[in-house]
């Protein structure tokens, strides 16, 4: 079974017609990987992959800015 972060990367790829080069430390907003509204929608996808409700304290710009930050703050912290 693929990891949650790989699944999230695929979700992000699916937002675009052309493939995106999203590194672990790519700033998702600054790079244009997500729009402002998609950044919010991404929380739902993360929660779905995580399989449980996210702690509100983890939904911060620092925790969600990059795939690496999401992996550390959400998926590995579980």
């Amino acid at each position: 079974m693929e990891s949650k972060i790989v699944s999230l990367r695929k979700w992000l790829d699916g937002l675009h017609e052309a493939p995106l080069d999203i590194q672990d430390d790519t700033d998702l907003i600054q790079s244009g990987a997500v729009t402002s509204l998609q950044f919010v929608q991404m929380v739902i996808e993360i929660e779905r992959l995580h399989g449980q409700k996210l702690d509100p304290g983890v939904i911060t710009i620092e925790s969600m800015r990059t795939l690496k930050a999401i992996e550390t703050a959400v998926f590995q912290a579980a």
């Binding site: 907003i29 729009t35 509204l37 919010v40 739902i44």
Partner: protein, 385 residues
């Protein structure tokens, strides 16, 4: 089930003026995407804006990231604390003071520059002058900085718009405006009556727990909301004057003028789309909205809902305005509505005293922006008496 949404991508849909018209008219709530809902019917919009579980605060939304904790992005006690800070500056007594001296001076100056001319860029060249003059004075900003504030603030409006434009320029402008606001606060240019000084006094007197940074951010949001919404709406007012819907002389009657302004507000609310978030799983008009979803409330759709307004696209003063919500509804309804209406009424009065006709001489019938909506790409001539 929610109404079936459009085949267009949400970003493409939301970039269009009157985007609600592209959704099925029979439904009030539409799922545009996973975690993204549009609310377009009047009853549904009012329910969403007053819903205790539909909140303004979301740490990832663009304005919260750019401005930090502020009045637009807070809920509950925190939001009430922010509102309490700005309330003294928007009281009936203070508005009466602005109406006596500040507004007439600014409006007279603007109409002086308009009388006898034709312009193809009313919005960028003229519409901001009165709102910026008023809000700079209220905020305690030196008059010499008005143009600088305008130059820095206008691009920031895109941070609150849909689709959002977030660039290095917008972040740099936020930092520079906060620096200027702090500089002005330190210089005490407002003589004790400025918004910043009033906020600080109110905070200290009421024991409201807000940091200096939060006070600056609130002041900046107050500035942005007070200037750019009014600039947009003044453009709509002048546009409607120029379309010849009314003989100008009729608007000398204050009651008719007020009804005219209310009808323009219904048809052209400057804030056409408001984004909120579902804090828990909930329903709006029976449609299930999962937690964390973004909820886009269409004020424009609500104000032209045929279930509430007969011939909703028709300009018709004197109609019942029950259900018209140009300043939104619920806890986040615009606190500056009375100030704005006073400003608009005085402006029209001055224009019709000086001008025999206001005429749209070129019109591409275009609208711009969701959060500071206004007609664009038109020319207007102000013919003197």
């Amino acid at each position: 089930m929610p109404g079936v949404a459009t085949m267009e991508s949400p970003a493409s849909l939301l970039s269009q003026p009157y985007w609600y018209r592209h959704l099925p008219a029979e439904a009030e709530v539409h799922q545009l995407d996973e975690g993204l809902f549009a609310v377009t019917g009047n009853a549904a919009v009012q329910e969403a804006l007053a819903h205790p579980l539909i909140v303004a605060e979301h740490p990832l939304k663009a304005s919260a990231r750019a401005f930090g904790p502020n009045v637009l992005d807070a809920d509950g006690p925190s939001h009430r604390a922010f509102r309490a800070l700005v309330a003294p500056i928007l009281s009936a007594g203070r508005i009466a003071e602005y109406k006596q001296a500040l507004m007439p001076r600014l409006i007279h100056g603007l109409v002086d520059s308009l009388a006898g001319i034709e312009t193809d860029n009313f919005y960028d060249s003229f519409a901001h002058k009165v709102p910026y003059g008023i809000v700079c004075t209220i905020l305690g900003i030196d008059a010499s900085l008005e143009d600088r504030f305008h130059e820095l603030t206008r691009p920031l409006a895109r941070l609150l718009d849909y689709p959002t434009q977030e660039t290095d320029e917008t972040h740099a402008n936020v930092a520079e405006l906060l620096r200027l606001i702090e500089e002005q606060r330190a210089a005490r240019t407002g003589g004790g009556q400025s918004l910043l000084e009033t906020i600080e006094r109110t905070r200290d007197r009421k024991g409201i727990s807000l940091t200096d940074d939060e006070v600056r951010s609130t002041a900046l949001l107050f500035f942005l909301a007070g200037t750019e919404t009014s600039s947009a709406f003044i453009t709509s007012l002048v546009y409607c004057l120029g379309r010849g819907i009314f003989r100008l002389d009729e608007l000398l009657d204050e009651a008719i003028r007020d009804a005219y302004i209310e009808e323009v507000l219904r048809l052209y609310p400057p804030v056409q789309t408001i984004v909120r978030f579902a804090s828990e799983d909930l329903t709006v008009q029976g449609v299930e909205v999962p937690r964390h979803s973004a909820v886009l409330a269409s004020i424009a759709g609500a104000n032209r809902d045929p279930r509430v307004f007969d011939h909703p696209d028709r300009f018709q003063t004197g109609r019942s305005l029950k259900g018209s919500i140009p300043f939104a509804a619920g806890a986040h309804a615009c606190p500056g509505a009375m100030l704005a209406k006073t400003e608009f009424s005085l402006l029209i009065q001055e224009i019709i005293q000086r001008c025999s006709d206001v005429v749209i001489t070129r019109d591409r019938l275009r609208m711009e922006s969701q959060s500071f909506s206004h007609p664009t790409d038109f020319s207007v001539e102000f013919r003197t008496r």
